[in-house]
Structure formats: structure tokens, C-alpha cells
Symmetry: C2
Subunit: 207 residues, 2 copies
DNA sequence: ACAAAATTGTTGCTTTTGCAACAATTATTA
DNA sequence: TAATAATTGTTGCAAAAGCAACAATTTTGT
């Protein structure tokens, strides 16, 4: 697994890494221009939120421990505004892209650890994004729910899964209409494919 | 921009990188188990294809120069089979994950270059995946087409854009029904938002 | 502990999308 | 270059999803 402490150790030697804490509700960063800023979530949770012209908010992504985010990974030329807002108290490490490759000091051996840690994080992140595409590219809400729950189940080695956020947010995450999703969740229950066993917790009946 | 030659130079010193050429139609790799194999596309084009139970094929992703792919980025536990198939003659570099971080030889200074090149590639790749999610998470086919064409337009600094693959493949890429997409493409023309100016080439009329 | 806010649950109606089938056009290759 | 395959274009109908509105329940903040 990823050892974020390596990066924190590096921080003691390099002044190029800035650790910052945020309270719930605070804006961590806004994607305004394609600067080369990278954030690594050390603890807590945040959401990437889009505000469109009419002021409607829409959740684009969720970040948690180990997530990598920032303008550096986004084509920010599209008109709507993207902001990362802490959904729980959280702490992030901010690094400028150029500081990753360029060594601060020939003696700084922590840069090496940083790069391998970062590669690990980027690998995990890529896998996560591929899974997400896998889910949202399904054609029907039923299939999206099904593969989403199945993935949760496999990851937790259990046929009992708890959706890690509200159903309202899940609808956003799957990019479907919430009430249509509720309807389909009900249909999956009626068809004995899943069984509700608690708030936002379901048992998959076919495995 | 990414300099893939750095990796090729490294190859002269490390025996851990394998360059391989593939003819059109050849299978480059199949995602069977989560081994830690990584591929970097040096030239040419390939597609990640899923074959479901019924033998239907479905294009999951497209790879081109600079694309990073492989089992290492996929949760391969889902039942359907994923294969990367060359859509044009192409050449790929294959690396095992463990060989990236672990140096082959203390004198091998190319490993350092490899890591920074790989970080660059992973950055570009992450941006690409985020853009893709941006597109397919739109609720309607019209919006998907719109943002997809707009992104192409911005990337090419032109309001005249050519879709880089067939419309059949585009429907797969946007994960929508092809005929529904054709209908919507027509509607965008009728509404004077786009104008067809050649095979798979459109002019965006609103910029 | 209570009021306010957020989330979950539900429904009827409308719009969009998928599906299937087929014709027309363009590419491929023997 | 002829025939074969692939892609593009089009349509009617069925299924799915979106939307809006509201009630019920749970959570949150003071």
C-alpha cells in the first residue's frame, strides 16, 4: 500500500511541499487556469464540485486518503467553474509539478522517495479512474448500480456493502437522475438481486 | 511534451524494457489477472475491447502515442474479458511495475529519467481520463457530443474538427447507442450548432 | 431537545435513448 | 476492378431515464 509518510518525511527536508489543513466546508482549491499544482489528500474527504451558469451544483468527483487532484490534471478551459470543497475536515499536501522532478538539493534523497510514492499514487488513481469509467459507461442505471455495488463488494471482500456517501451523491457520482436511480434500486430489490440491510447498506444476493 | 526517447535510451542500458511491434489486428495484451505489467504506446493506435458473454464486442478505450495501459491499471476481476488490439501497426514498450522503482544497477542513471518520463505520461493520462469522464458523465447525448467536439476544437485551436475515428466507434467511446447519436448529430446540424464539412469533419458554428 | 436542513422514498408525466431493421454510401482486399 | 465488408444514414416503436413535486424520515446545528 501507499506510504504517505514518505512524502511527509520528505517535507522535513524539502521546503517545496506544503501541508495544509481544511475545515469541513472550506474550499481547498479552485481550478481556474492550468497551473501545475498537485494536491495529495493525506486524510479526510473532499468533493470536486462544478457550479454551472445557473448556479446549480454538481458533484464531479470525490477524493479521499491517497487521492491525487488539482488543476494539473484538468483541462480547465471549459467555461464552468470547478472547486474542491472539504466534505470532512481534511489535510492535504500541495506540490508544484516542477518541484517533483527538479531536485531541491543534490543531497536531498527524499526526492527519490517522493517520485516513487507519487508513481504509486498515480497508478492507484489511474485504476480508480478506469473503474469509474467502467461504471458510468454502462448504458442503463441498473447496470451502473450493479457494477458499482459489485466493485464495492469485491474491494471489501464481503457481499454486504455500504455506499460511502449519500444516495443523492451516488446519483451524481453515477451521473444519473436521483429519482430514476431510486426507482432502479427498488427494482433490484424486487428482483432479489440486492437486499437492503441498513441505511445505505445492501447485501448482494447472487454471490 | 513527453520525450519517449528517454525511455528508449534507457532500454539500451536496462534489459528490463521490452519494445515490441504489432501488426494491425494483433492482440497486444489481454487483461487476465492483475499482474503488474505496463505498456507505453510509442507509435500507432490500439483499442481496448471487451468481449461479453454473448461475444459482443464493445470498445472501452482508445490508445495512441504516449498512452499508458495494461493490467496494472485495471481491476480485472470483473467477468468479461478485456483485450488490447492494434487498430494500426504499432510499437509498444512493456515494463514490469517492479522494475520501475527498483534500480537494475546502481550505475543505471536511466532509471531516473524513466521515472520522470513515466510521471509525465501518467499526468497526461490522468488528464485524459478526467476529460473522458467529463464527457461521458453528461446526461444527454447532445451534451456529450457538444462537449466532446468542443474539447477537440480547443485542442486543435480550430473551430473545424475531425473526429479521429469512425462514428460507430465514437458512439462506443461516448457510450451511447449509435443510431441515437446519429439522430442527435443531425439535430445539432438542424439547430445550426454544428455544420458538416466533410467525412467525420464538422465546423462548430458558435465560436 | 427542537427546529431547520438534508436525505430518502414515491409517483405521473414527458422526453430521450435504445433497439432492430434496412438502405445508401464508402473502404477494403482478393 | 469487382465483390465484400464496413460504415453512415434513417425510421418506428418500445423501454428507460429525466423531471418536478411532494411526503416521510433522518441528520445537523444551536
Amino acid at each position: 500500500m501507499i506510504d504517505i509518510n514518505e512524502i511527509l518525511n520528505a517535507k522535513d527536508y524539502c521546503h517545496q511541499f506544503v501541508k495544509k489543513d481544511f475545515a469541513k466546508g472550506e474550499t481547498i482549491t479552485s481550478y481556474i487556469e492550468k497551473r501545475k499544482q498537485i494536491f495529495i489528500m493525506l486524510s479526510g474527504e473532499a468533493a470536486l464540485i462544478r457550479y454551472d451558469e445557473k448556479g446549480n451544483k454538481d458533484i464531479v468527483d470525490f477524493f479521499r486518503e491517497g487521492s491525487v487532484f488539482g488543476e494539473a490534471f484538468y483541462n480547465v478551459y471549459l467555461n464552468s467553474e470547478l472547486s474542491v470543497v472539504a466534505t470532512k475536515k481534511c489535510s492535504c499536501l500541495s506540490i508544484m509539478y516542477d518541484d517533483i522532478v527538479r531536485k531541491c538539493d543534490p543531497r536531498c534523497k527524499y526526492h527519490e522517495e517522493l517520485t516513487s510514492t507519487l508513481i504509486n499514487l498515480l497508478f492507484e488513481n489511474t485504476t480508480h479512474l478506469n473503474s469509474r469509467i467502467e461504471v458510468i459507461s454502462k448504458r442503463t442505471i441498473r447496470e451502473k448500480l450493479h457494477i458499482y455495488l459489485e466493485t464495492l463488494s469485491i474491494e471489501s471482500y464481503s457481499n454486504k456493502v455500504t455506499i460511502p456517501f449519500s444516495l443523492t451523491d451516488l446519483a451524481d457520482f453515477l451521473s444519473v437522475n436521483r429519482s430514476a436511480m431510486m426507482r432502479e434500486l427498488k427494482a433490484l430489490e424486487d428482483d432479489r438481486i440486492i437486499q437492503k440491510v441498513g441505511k445505505n447498506t445492501y447485501r448482494l444476493l447472487y454471490r
